[in-house]
């Protein structure tokens, strides 16, 4: 029931959450159709062959795309990661050199640090804001739908070049944020040029886009049966207890989904950092995010092998994080069947 496409037979066991909660069951196979019976007469066999032909015919565009644009390039970049390649001369095998260099490259270390802080600080703040506002909006009061739309809007435009330009202009010296700071007696100067202030500025930009996870939280909150809260109140439970014992466990599948997607998403921030730092990752490397450094290495320095090595480290890290999320999810993600 937790993914919209679960086969119907599993849906009837779950009453409280609908099939609309956007949890991706990533291990789910395409189980929608009936498997052919094991006894195979010639007629049945030819029918199955026809089905297989039809299947591959319909899948052809995706298959071509998958091998041409995903699987092939992935293998190619895995090979390139062990070479030096500048697009002009043939790739030169260097073994693990690129990886060894990575960990001795202060700019690379800086990019890992910057991205790590961004993910570890930005994502929790963003999700906490999303949850808090979703809980506030989860009432039957008028205007809820309008607020939901307004709060969502930044998620749609937040990653655009336009907003990056606006953000930059708001945070320059004597810009509007500085002016507001001065009004409250704190003249911090421009955030854009100050290496210790660019990270808060970037985190504010991502937190500003809390709307997408908020909308998903809100959909999850609506699925929690009110009887649970009523029963808890009769037992004398306070708000904190209700939050910890009902809201959080019931919401954990949605929380899992948001946390996984936002985390993976945060690792890949590029456009806004590129615009705000003018493609330099400055000042003092404070906006040198991982993918920005990858881009500069690959497409400004034409060190394609080095950039490929960076890309593969990113894939492995994201893969590991995804793996850990799924492994630990058994401990903290509760599906409604268990909490009932």
């Amino acid at each position: 029931m937790l993914d919209a496409g679960a086969p119907p037979r599993t849906q009837q066991h779950h009453h409280h959450t609908t099939d609309r909660i956007p949890i991706v069951s990533l291990t789910d196979e395409a189980t929608g159709t009936r498997t052919a019976s094991p006894t195979s007469s010639p007629a049945r066999r030819s029918r199955r062959a026809a089905e297989a032909r039809a299947g591959y015919a319909f899948l052809a565009p995706w298959l071509i795309g998958f091998f041409l644009l995903t699987a092939g390039p992935m293998l190619a970049s895995l090979y390139l990661a062990f070479t030096n390649y500048n697009m002009f001369a043939a790739p030169q095998w260097v073994g693990l050199d690129n990886f060894v260099q990575l960990f001795n490259d202060p700019r690379y270390i800086q990019s890992v640090k910057v991205t790590g802080i961004y993910v570890l600080v930005g994502t929790p703040i963003k999700l906490a804001s999303a949850l808090a506002v979703a809980m506030l909006l989860n009432t039957k009061r008028r205007g809820q739908g309008a607020y939901r739309s307004i709060f969502y809007a930044p998620s749609l435009i937040g990653a655009s070049v336009s907003i990056a330009i606006v953000w930059k202009a708001m945070f320059i010296d004597n810009g509007v944020v500085d002016q507001i700071g001065q009004f409250f007696g704190r003249d911090a100067g421009g955030w854009v040029g100050n290496p210790s202030m660019t990270m808060p500025m970037m985190i504010l930009l991502t937190v500003w886009q809390f709307g997408a996870p908020m909308v998903i939280f809100l959909a999850g909150l609506k699925q929690i049966p009110t009887e649970l809260y009523e029963a808890a109140e009769m037992d004398g439970a306070g708000s904190v207890r209700k939050f910890l014992k009902i809201t959080l466990p019931m919401l954990s599948p949605v929380l899992f989904f948001n946390l996984l997607l936002e985390t993976i998403h945060s690792f890949q921030i590029f456009g806004s950092a590129f615009i705000i730092s003018n493609g330099t990752g400055g000042p003092a490397g404070s906006t040198m995010f991982y993918t920005l450094y990858l881009y500069l290495r690959g497409f400004a320095d034409f060190r394609m092998g080095y950039a490929s090595a960076m890309a593969w480290v990113l894939v492995v890290v994201v893969g590991l994080i995804t793996f850990i999320f799924f492994k630990t999810s058994k401990q903290w993600v509760h599906y409604s069947g268990e909490t009932k």
Partner: protein, 312 residues
Amino acid sequence: MTATTAHQTTRDPVLGGQGPDDLEASAQLRKAAKRRGRVKSVFFHVFVLAVTVVILYPAVWMLMSSLKPTSDIIGNISLIPTDASFDNFAKALSGIGGVSFWTFFGNSLFLAVMSVIGITLSSTITSYAFARIDFPGRGIFFTLMIATLLLPFHVVIIPQYIMFNQLGMVNTFVPLLIGKFLAAEAFFVFLMVQFMRNLPRELDEAARIDGAGHIRIFRSIMLPLMKPPIMTASIFAFIWSWNDFFGPLLYLKKPDLYSLPIALRLYVDQTSVSDYGAQMAMAVLALLPVLVFFIIFQRFIVDGVATQGLKG
């Protein structure tokens, strides 16, 4: 923030219709609850309005600044322009380096419309294979398709760039569009597979008994029923293409091929620190189609996020 919701103030399960004492007590309790409800309501509106102001501020600031001369933007806290004018817009519309604004706009529009067409065609066909045809290897391919959802695309861009460069396709729109026609954006395929799996199978079984093949079933039965996910996918395909920065940055290097985000970046580079007013006007113009889309389709977009987990 507490977990309390509106129903607690209007409905209390403890208070049933009991004796007269209970009734009086319950009336008092209800009054207290009502008062609490009002306080909460005020709190709700104050807080929500505060959030709204914070959320809207950057957008309003952008809009207002686009109407001001630069000297009014920096070092001036007031939102309202002292003398509003469209000078900035005239400047922005006059283009960059001899290329008209409308060229960039046209490029962006072409890319977005082609994205919508490509994604609609390829994702519906692919999703039909996954959801409705039983063939060996389907499970594995479906898992691989899902895996690409979480794959950082940076791992493929370098070989892709090398490939398109060797094919002489840098400075064409092909690298930006080919993936859309080959269902490379797994999210849309996933969205449609989910939708199609929930359609009753009796529909296609009845058609099969009548002798219809997969092409007929796909075209005459599935496609007409797929309007909602096609609509959602089209809206997001358009907006994502419109806002895309990385792809055009890699592949479009001639100004007359630039999409709006790349043109905007060039504009910022060129005007440097000096002309924030014109930058804001250009930013407004570049965002305008997205905002119009949002206003028209907001219900659809937000519900799509709520039910499908689509990101912004």
